[in-house]
Amino acid sequence: MQSLVPHIEKAKKGDQAALSIILTKLEPVLRAFFISRIGRRPDVDDLVQNTLLRVHRGLSDLKDDTRLKAFAMKGAIYELQDFYRGRYKPKETLFDSDETPEIHSLDASAEEQMDVEYALSSLSPHAREIIELREYGYKYEEIADMVGSTEAAIKMQVKRAFERMKDALMAFLLWIAIPATFSR
């Protein structure tokens, strides 16, 4: 895409036609990239769109016009990471807001943190790694790819890990069900 360099210079000066040419050339690259990472899903359209907007808004930050590839790649991977991190929410709809177990946030007492830490410490480093990747936003199939395993094997490890944590979690869950003013 060396031929885009003159258009980049013009686009930086506000030439809309030049900007359009750049975005039009980038669109199929971004689409192919996102499909290769998350499959053919409606989310691909949004990721492509958001990345093009990043390029549009940030073009003035491009110091070297011959480095459009690095610039677009950076934007596309930022978008992809934001996409992964936004994936968790659905399972919290399993509980209505008024019945969601109350979890104290980062200002939780050291004692509470120890309960969960104790439960998590009962896991092998590998199982903990998988749970972290899952909560980061990767799907089981993606995690399997990352650690060189199969999706079924990963799911089995998570289930076993959960079983292992049950006892340690019992005390913690009793605590979170008790009014915060109650002293253990």
Binding site: Q2, S3, A17, L19, S20, I21, K25, E27, V29, A32, F33, I35, S36, R37, I38, G39, R40, R41, P42, D45, Q49, L52, L53, H56, D61, K63, R67, K69, A70, A72, M73, I77, Y78, Y88, P90, K91, E92, T93, L94, F95, T100, P101, I103, A119, L120, R128, E129, I131, E132, L133, E135, Y136, Y138, K139, V158, K159, F162, M165, K166, L173
Partner: protein, 387 residues
């Protein structure tokens, strides 16, 4: 469906039906409700520790790509946050092995981007005039639509316009291809032209987006505020940036030549001597004679066979595959998932079946394999495509 905690933990996402069914199951089974509570509690806690201990996703990307990109690729703010992150990442990775996996994954993402870029660039670099294929689904693509609209161009083919006459004081550049040959010409402005056999392209003096065509050629003209002129036997084509074929049919017994303009992308306005202007849309062909202009939709692949390009525009993959099988006399097995997927792209036949299929596979998110014994190609859904 009855749900166990194992079923629920194994789900990647929850549809509205899942949520309703799980809620009903929890109402009926207190132990399931408690198990789900435990699981959500662990999930939330792990997430909180991620939020607390992990750098932001943008900083992670910078850290992962710090070897691949140079300082000039980052803004000063990005660079400063990267330098800051470098000092604490070792500790963070020591406490969370998953961070190393995520960094490695981001580096793989960069490789995948590289492949997608190269597949596209290969198809538009100097020496070829392929266009990257696009498997289209444009819902929500407002920006791109705007971009495409702005890139629309106008081609005017007019009879009776004063022809550009060679200027004896300027050097005359001529590129010719004899029978049995055909070749690409990359012009100084980045536009590319593929000349058909027995055709020639010429211009006077320094190149200034004005050329004379004798015979037939396929043009892929870089958009610019400066118009691009193609002089033919019967008129002048003015272009602002588009791809199209101009085929000159020799004069008939009455001495009347015919020009066929077949438009792949962009927008074209044709005007001839004594006839009203007509607009060509992509996928249409204008036939211009001295008696007038007719416009009709055409099969681009068939109409542009003489260019030795394979031209597809929103063509269902089953038809693309049929054309490739016919053109290269090969066997291709297409995953039924892609049968009706529309594909848009222009491919140089000289690239060969395997390279063309590779580019298509990248655009579709498919995997290409070749049976070593039978030579049969297969385009299948890639493993990540079903997520």
């Amino acid at each position: 469906m009855s749900y166990s905690i194992e079923d629920i933990v194994g789900l990647d996402s929850f549809s509205a039906d899942d949520v309703a069914a799980i809620k009903a199951a929890m109402l009926a089974d207190e132990s399931l409700r408690l198990a789900v509570s435990r699981w959500i509690a662990v999930s939330k806690w792990v997430r909180l520790s991620i939020e607390n201990d992990f750098p932001s996703s943008q900083v992670l990307v910078r850290f992962a790509l710090r070897e691949q990109l140079s300082e000039s690729d980052w803004t000063s703010q990005e660079w400063a946050s990267l330098k800051q992150a470098e000092s604490v990442m070792a500790d963070a990775i020591a406490n969370h092995a998953s961070l190393a996996r995520i960094i490695s994954r981001i580096q793989n993402d960069a490789q995948a981007f590289d492949q997608a870029w190269n597949a596209s660039v290969d198809s538009i670099q100097a020496g070829t005039i392929d266009r990257a294929p696009v498997a289209r689904r444009f819902s929500g693509m407002r920006l791109v639509r705007t971009a495409l609209s702005a890139a629309a161009v106008v081609v005017v083919i007019a009879f009776g316009i004063n022809q550009l006459t060679p200027n004896a004081t300027l050097p005359h550049h001529v590129i010719e291809y004899a029978a049995g040959e055909s070749n690409h010409v990359v012009l100084e402005d980045g536009s590319t032209v593929r000349l058909a056999e027995n055709s020639s392209l010429s211009w006077d003096g320094d190149f200034s987006r004005t050329v004379s065509l004798s015979g037939s050629a396929f043009f892929d003209v870089d958009a610019s505020s400066e118009p691009f002129f193609v002089e033919t036997e019967v008129g002048v084509t003015t272009v602002l940036g588009t791809s199209f074929g101009i085929q000159t049919i020799p004069a008939d017994e009455n001495g009347n030549p015919t020009v066929k303009v077949t438009l792949v992308s962009g927008r074209v306005s044709l005007s001839g001597q004594g006839s009203a202007s007509k607009v060509l849309a992509p996928g249409e062909q204008g036939i211009i004679t001295r008696s007038g202009i007719t416009v009709a939709p055409v099969n681009l692949t068939e109409s542009l066979t003489w260019t030795e390009f394979l031209v597809f525009r929103d063509t269902p993959m089953k038809e693309v595959v049929a054309e490739l099988q016919r053109r290269f006399e090969i066997k291709i097995i297409l995953d039924k998932h892609f049968t009706d997927t529309p594909l848009t792209g222009t491919f140089d036949q000289d690239r060969g079946a395997k390279e063309i299929l590779n580019i298509m596979a990248t655009a579709l998110g498919a995997q290409l394999s070749v049976d070593a014994q039978t030579g049969t190609f297969s385009l299948e859904r890639s493993e990540s495509a079903g997520l």
